[in-house]
C-alpha cells in the first residue's frame, strides 16, 4: 500500500496511509503515514469502537491537510505501563 500511496502522490493526489505494521509499511517510504496500535484486519479501529474509528480517519485527514512534507508520520504513543 505504501507504493500505491507514492504512485497516487506522484500523480497529484495526496494520500494518508494507516499502518499497524510500521516496519513493513515504512520500508517503502509512504509520503504520509498514521501509525496506530491496532490489529491487522481492524486497521481503522476495533469493532464497534465508533470514536476510535473516527479518530483514525480524522488523523488521516489531518495528515493530508498538514504541510509537514514528505515522510510525515503521526504515531500513537506507547501505552504507559
Amino acid at each position: 500500500m505504501s507504493l500505491i500511496a507514492r504512485g497516487l502522490e506522484a500523480a497529484g493526489i495526496p494520500t494518508a496511509l494507516v499502518s499497524v505494521m510500521p516496519p513493513l509499511s515504512s520500508a517503502a517510504r509512504p509520503p504520509r503515514q498514521l501509525i496506530r496500535r491496532l490489529n491487522i484486519g481492524a486497521t481503522v479501529g476495533r469493532p464497534g469502537d465508533v470514536e476510535g474509528q473516527l479518530e483514525t480517519l480524522r488523523r488521516m485527514v489531518a495528515l493530508i491537510a498538514s504541510d509537514a512534507g514528505f515522510g510525515a508520520v503521526d504515531k500513537d504513543a506507547k501505552p504507559e505501563n
Binding site: M1, I4, I13, T15, L17, P31, N39, L57, M60
Partner: protein, 180 residues
Amino acid sequence: MSDLSSLDAWQPKFKAWIENSMPLFKGGKAKEAFAVYPWFTTEGDPIAQLDKPVSEARFGLVTTGGYAIKGEQEPFVPAPNFSDDAPIIHSIPLDVDRTKLRIDHPGYDHRFAEEDLNVNLPLDRLNELVAAGEIGSVSNETQVLMGLAPNVGPLLRNTIPELVARFEADSVDAALLVPS
C-alpha cells in the same frame, strides 16, 4: 526518479527470488521464503498538496480487505500473486448491500470485519464525517484490492494508473489508504 523507472533493476532480483523460493512455497514454508524477499527500493519523495480545505475536498478510499460483491464480482484468489497479470480492483458502492459482501483474504482474521465492516471498510464513519461537515464528500466507489502482492511490477504498471484514472474520473481530491 519514479518507482516505475526503478522496476527494471528490481525485476531480475524478484525473478531469482521466485525461482529459489518455489520449493519453499511448495513445502509450505512461505514464511522462510518471505524472509529473503527482495524489497523494492524506492527513490524520490513524491508529495502532493491539497489545494482546498478538507471540508470541501472529495475523499477516495482504498482498502486491501479483499472484498467482493457475491454474484456480481469475481472473488479474489486467496493467495499471493506472483504473476505479471493486472490485479483485480473491485469498486464497492457506498450503499452496497452488505449482506452480499464476501472476504477472500487469507492474511487477516475476518472476525473483526464480520462484526463491524468499519474496521477496514469505514463507510459509516466516512458518511458521518461528511454529515458533520468535517470533510466535503466521499467517492461513491471504494476501491478494493487484495494485498499480498509480492510482484511489484503489475502494482506499478497496472494498479496505480488504474486507481489514478478512477479517482480522476470521480474528481477525488485525496485518498485514504487502509491496508488489511
